[in-house]
Symmetry: C2
Subunit: 367 residues, 2 copies
């Protein structure tokens, strides 16, 4: 089912800053905007994915694996942004291509991403793990995707975490990426996070006492619930997340369609009911015991009442609350700064064992 | 003397792709475009430089030197792009700030930039050297700035070279950055390149037989002449360079003002004569003996006749000629791909000792 809209897809895109910060080339974004009238958004990005793949194959043949990895990562991101606004056959076509291209990129990334083939409740669940320099054991951060983002898209954020001496782990949970065909969005995401904790604890190069979780957007909801339900998690970041979906009516039409799609239901009303039940976390937030970092932008469509909920339910001594007065959803519009802040906080908590400093930061370009 | 123009500075900027690829934040560029009407371009960027500097100081106090280095590097770039379109008091104010901020960033970069205080013919000439992982000795690449770019701006390209196992060295020559007050643009840039070769050969961690030079824009002209005159250089890249200034009349008004400024003359006619004499390389190009890589964009204001000159004067067995049919000046509009290509070529020649492959590459997003 296609969503009809008077807007061109690029106008509906939540945030060009997101694409840039996640690694999409500015020149490719300009190319998408200025593409010929007979080339669709989907085809533009899918063709570009294939061109990057060809470049990567040429680079592999010449022994230039670093560049090959970069090109395949770019290709995978192109496939992601080809599909992410539609719910018809383009969706699965783009998703499958993204998965395929990332899998080719994984061993060529620096550091490489090791693929572990988990099976949880009979469902195959590949997990990618990347390690920083040195023999370890290292702290590790499990990174959670969101409503339409998946394990393939956290590459740039992973690099910031890796540079600070922590391993990273990514996977798709219910309703996401490779798991979507097996399981829709559900109220038990934390079970899958815990399966990754099991995996990491079994790896010699990981410090079992220093495993954190970081989730973005919907992943920030999953991160809160995962950390509340899993005592082995030693740090939690909710990056543009939310505690509940009481604010359904504030969601954009496209986002509501997206909720319906990942819920595998026929109507928006069913979607509303399903996600409202599945994404409730308030009953467990009081169980949060590890250092917890909340990043929220005042201009996010997630209402500011979320901050009140957090202040009500999370113990102040474990809470670092960052509310950016100029920030949009996930603060993608603020550049690298909020990401560096999160990476440094993880380093403080997981690498250096420091107690987190409660802070509210942000600076205004026009002061 | 201020240049008056009906265009806003951001319209005159050669290429936003350049800013992004050199490390300016997309969000800061958007902020510059959308800044309040009473904030000048210069003040916007200079204020932002100070804000990044404050963030860096906060990070240093917290022990987060990696982020501090990033913020100071961002601050230095902000100061660069504050001043780069003017030739009045803003010019030296912005330049001085850029130098100061980069000097603070240098020890915090990853890997750090070591400052060496050379003096050449009585002129102080600081050189920054960065080394890749491992004890070495490593090949090294001397990077040359251009008409208004300096040793502080090649950070992102340095990182690509470092990741491939080569050290980097940067400095300001006649007419550039810190040397401008002591010496205007002159016909002997190669003397200063050779002084850096002397320095590098004296460093234990550098392989004296594997030192290359890479210059961008006007630096691409200097690179050609440096390599033609300095037999110890083992590789040369001219990135958006030129062999001569026969095409003066094709230059934009702002670029002509810039030539006049760095020549320290009073009229455009004097500037034309001075740079025409100083930047002639055709008489020495036949002496080029090391592998030489030329990157040229068909849409560069440097005319395509430059390619004919290269084909006439440079021996085919040492030449890799890359002409990008969609490329603008320095091919900044093509994203990371041309930069990866140059970094890989340097790796082939300097690290792996491979003979360069003559190639002409490029792909079209709309094929």
């Amino acid at each position: 089912m296609a969503v009809t809209s008077p807007l061109k897809p690029e106008d509906e895109m939540l945030n060009w800053g997101r694409l840039i910060l996640d690694g999409v080339s500015y020149s490719d974004m300009v190319g998408a905007r200025d593409r010929p009238g007979d080339v669709t958004w989907f085809d533009y990005w899918m063709n570009l994915a294939s061109e990057y793949e060809s470049e990567a194959e040429r680079k592999v043949a010449l022994g230039h694996t670093l560049s090959a990895g970069e090109f395949l990562m770019s290709a995978s991101l192109c496939a992601q942004y080809a599909q992410f606004l539609w719910f018809d056959e383009r969706r699965q076509k783009g998703q499958a291509r993204k998965v395929e291209l990332y899998q080719k990129a994984a061993p060529l990334l620096s550091p490489p991403a090791e693929r572990h083939e988990l099976v949880v409740d009979g469902i195959p669940m590949p997990v990618y793990v990347r390690f920083p320099d040195g023999p370890g054991p290292h702290p590790a951060v499990i990174m959670l995707g969101g409503l339409e983002s998946t394990k393939e898209e956290s590459y740039q954020m992973e690099n910031l975490v890796l540079a600070r001496g922590m391993a990273t782990a990514t996977f798709d949970g219910p309703g996401q990426g490779e798991m979507f065909e097996h399981k829709r969005l559900s109220g038990d995401y934390e079970k899958y996070t815990s399966a990754v904790v099991d995996l990491l604890i079994g790896l010699e190069r990981v410090r079992p006492d220093a495993i954190g979780v970081l989730g973005r957007s919907l992943g920030g909801n999953y991160a809160l619930k995962s950390a509340a339900c899993e005592p082995r998690l030693a740090a939690c970041i909710s990056w543009g997340g939310f505690s509940d979906l009481d604010y359904w009516d504030l969601e954009t039409p496209l986002t509501k369609e997206s909720w319906k799609y990942v819920s595998k239901v026929d109507t928006l009303e069913e979607a509303r009911e399903h996600v409202h039940a599945a994404l409730e976390t308030r009953h467990v937030l009081k169980n949060l015991a590890c250092p917890t970092y909340i990043l929220h932008g005042v201009h996010d469509e997630v209402p500011l009442s979320f901050v009140d909920t957090i202040l009500d339910l999370v113990a102040p001594e474990i809470l670092t609350l960052v509310v950016e007065k100029d920030g949009d959803h996930c603060c993608h519009n603020l550049g690298l700064r909020p990401r560096l802040e999160m990476a440094d906080w993880l380093q403080d908590v997981l690498v250096n064992g420091k107690a987190p400093i409660p802070t509210t930061i942000g600076f205004d370009h026009h002061d």
